[in-house]
C-alpha cells in the first residue's frame, strides 16, 4: 500500500534556527510531491510542489524542498525560521497511477520560540 512517513511529530526550535523536516514515501511509480502548511486556525495552504525537472524546488516564505528519487524522500528546509513559521506541516504524495488522490503524511507540528 502507498504510504507517506514524516519522521518527526513535533519539532521545537528557536527563531533563526534552521529547519529540516523529513518525508519519505513508499514506491509507487511516478509521483508528484507537495508540502502543505496549516497555520493555527487556518486552512491547509500549499507551500511548494514538485512535478518534474530540477529536484530542488523553492516555495513561498523562504521554504525549499529537495526530491531525492533514490531515497524516496522529499525533505523540507528553511535556513532561518521565524516565530510566524509555527504551524503544522504536511507532506503529500500524488501517486500518478492512483488517480489524483493525495496520500498524506501524519504531519509535523513545529513550534518556533521567539
Amino acid at each position: 500500500a502507498q504510504s507517506v512517513s514524516q519522521h518527526n511529530h513535533h519539532v521545537i526550535l528557536s527563531e533563526a534556527a534552521s529547519l529540516e523536516l523529513g518525508c519519505n514515501y513508499s514506491y509507487g511509480g511516478t509521483v508528484n510531491l507537495f508540502w502543505y502548511v496549516q497555520y493555527p486556525g487556518q486552512h491547509l495552504q500549499l507551500l511548494l510542489k514538485y512535478f518534474s525537472g530540477d529536484p530542488l524546488v523553492k516555495g513561498i516564505k523562504g521554504f525549499e524542498a529537495e526530491f531525492i528519487k533514490s531515497k524516496f524522500s522529499f525533505n523540507l528546509r528553511k535556513p532561518s525560521v521565524q516565530w510566524s513559521d509555527t504551524a503544522e506541516y504536511f507532506c503529500a504524495v500524488d501517486y500518478k497511477a492512483a488517480g489524483n488522490k493525495l496520500t498524506f503524511g501524519g504531519g509535523t507540528r513545529v513550534l518556533v520560540k521567539p
Binding site: 507537495f34 486552512h43 504536511f90 492512483a98 488517480g99 489524483n100 488522490k101 493525495l102 503524511g105
Partner: protein, 113 residues
Amino acid sequence: EAGVTQSPTHLIKTRGQQATLRCSPISGHTSVYWYQQALGLGLQFLLWYDEGEERNRGNFPPRFSGRQFPNYSSELNVNALELEDSALYLCASSFGGENQPQHFGDGTRLSIL
C-alpha cells in the same frame, strides 16, 4: 480570489442520521476532492469529482457518496452515520487534468452524538 468554501462549519448529528456537506471550488476549478481528517487517522482521501463525474474513490464504505453539480460545486453525503464518522471533512479543488495542485477549504467539523 475567493478560496474553496465549505458549509456548514459545524454539523452535529446522531447515529443513524444522514449528513450533507457542501463545497464550492475556486472559480475556474473543475475538480473537487473530499478528504476525511479523523483523530489519530490523519488525512485520508475520500472522493474525486471532475466535470460532474466521480473519477476516484478512497477506501470508504458506500454510505459515503457525493455528487458534483454543473457549476462544479459538490456535496458529500454520509448515510447511516456512525460514531467513527466524527471528523473534519476537507474539500479541495483544482484545475482539471494532471499535475494540478489541490487547494483546500476550511473544512466541516462533523460530530456524531
